[in-house]
Symmetry: C2
Subunit: 248 residues, 2 copies
């Protein structure tokens, strides 16, 4: 692939343009895309033209562009997470029907939690996660599951950076993180009252495949009150069902 | 973007590689990717290397590659269909709980039906649709909805090509297609018994946004028997709910 004088490939620049879109700003003007991706407007404009021609971007109103349906189709039809998501969906629906609020499926991607699926009730408690959105590991109950059952290096890497605080309850010290992970391993689930938002409690359990490996986290977000722990048995049972259904 | 002697951009070749993966074959060897995308193995190998480096592809076992989670994340987090899917999901869940079998959400993409979402029971009747999969318009009940309420040119374009037959019941003549579309417009839904598979009936209704425009089709796949039409009222009610919730 051709490289510019800076040594960067044209594909890399196209990817930087695709990376500029966020759930909050799904439509962007070419000038803004150029700014965010650090490209000249003419360069950004040419790459946007090509991505649009192939359907990876589509024109929105007011000279803006957005991710195209074709991009979603290419990414989703042979999605690496499709079999996990298919296995989890019936259990996620049951969990959502029984517990209400939010029921979620997440995987570990790099050093963050990536949410693959979320079912939400209309009047559900506040929740910061989004489908295809990420959260730091130390913040979310799903992240705590990946830290508790993942390799020790993962925890060490997370502790190399400052632990961002979201609420007064957020874990921000190595000592408290390690104590919480011990507790998660002892009890088999993570229950974090008010760590992401004061009004919400996240509860997550590991999903193990046929080989016993933790391949995902199943979680619910419920109101931060004394009834929250009552969701744990349903969550543990659902995770066993998903684990039995997921291909190894 | 640099173009080769053939005039094709490197981005276009990368897209052809991404297009080679299918739901049935989500993992491919580089030599097979080269064959399917009509590229030299060395060229395909170089592009695969770059796509892998950026996480758009990931290495699978046995020297094969597949779509990477990063590709899914980029396509999904600012997905153009996210707001429609979010609006539809609670209604799709209710429909699935009441009707069982398969409940689906689809949009028109080009001259085909693209399925955005599908909820399926474990023991559900056979269904050929897949999430991020496509079906021809004349085959599926959702496609019949888009043909019935879409512009007349769409129907004319579909009739320019032979109408592929899936079963003895499939519509394969212009006369029968036009009569069926009249019926769909009269009754407000499409009910196609055994058109895709002899054992299944597809029923679809239009989802209209606040401006009255048909933006999606909501459908169920149920067994092909005399009880199939009983699903119509629940489907019509759900489509009204989705239509009220979808942003215009």
């Amino acid at each position: 692939m051709a490289r510019t004088a800076t040594g960067e490939s044209s594909l890399a620049r196209a990817i930087r343009i695709l990376e500029a879109f966020t759930p909050e700003e799904p439509e962007l003007a070419v000038s803004e895309l150029a700014r965010r991706s650090g490209l000249h407007v003419a360069t950004a404009s040419r790459i946007v033209g090509q991505l649009t021609e192939h359907g990876l971007l589509s024109r929105a109103g007011d000279r803006r562009v957005r991710i195209g349906i074709r991009m979603w189709e290419l990414a989703s039809r042979a999605s690496p997470t499709r079999s996990l998501r298919d296995a989890a969906m019936p259990y996620l629906e049951d969990l959502h029907a029984v517990v209400g609020h939010h029921a979620q499926l997440a995987v570990l991607l790099g050093d963050e939690v990536l949410f693959l699926e979320r079912l939400s009730a209309r009047d559900a408690v506040v929740n910061y996660s989004r489908i295809a959105g990420r959260l730091p590991l130390h913040i979310s109950s799903s992240g705590m599951v990946f830290l508790a059952y993942g390799p020790g290096e993962l925890c060490e890497r997370v502790l190399e950076r400052p632990l961002e605080r979201y609420t007064a309850a957020t874990i921000t010290t190595a000592e408290r993180l390690r104590a919480t992970l011990d507790q998660v391993r002892r009890q088999g689930y993570a229950l974090l009252p008010g760590h992401v938002h004061a009004e919400a409690t996240g509860i997550a359990v590991p999903v193990r495949d046929g080989l016993g490996e933790v391949v995902a986290a199943l979680s619910v977000i419920v109101p931060n009150d004394e009834r929250a722990p009552s969701a744990v048995p349903a969550l543990l049972a659902a995770a066993r069902g998903v684990g039995r259904s997921v291909p190894t």
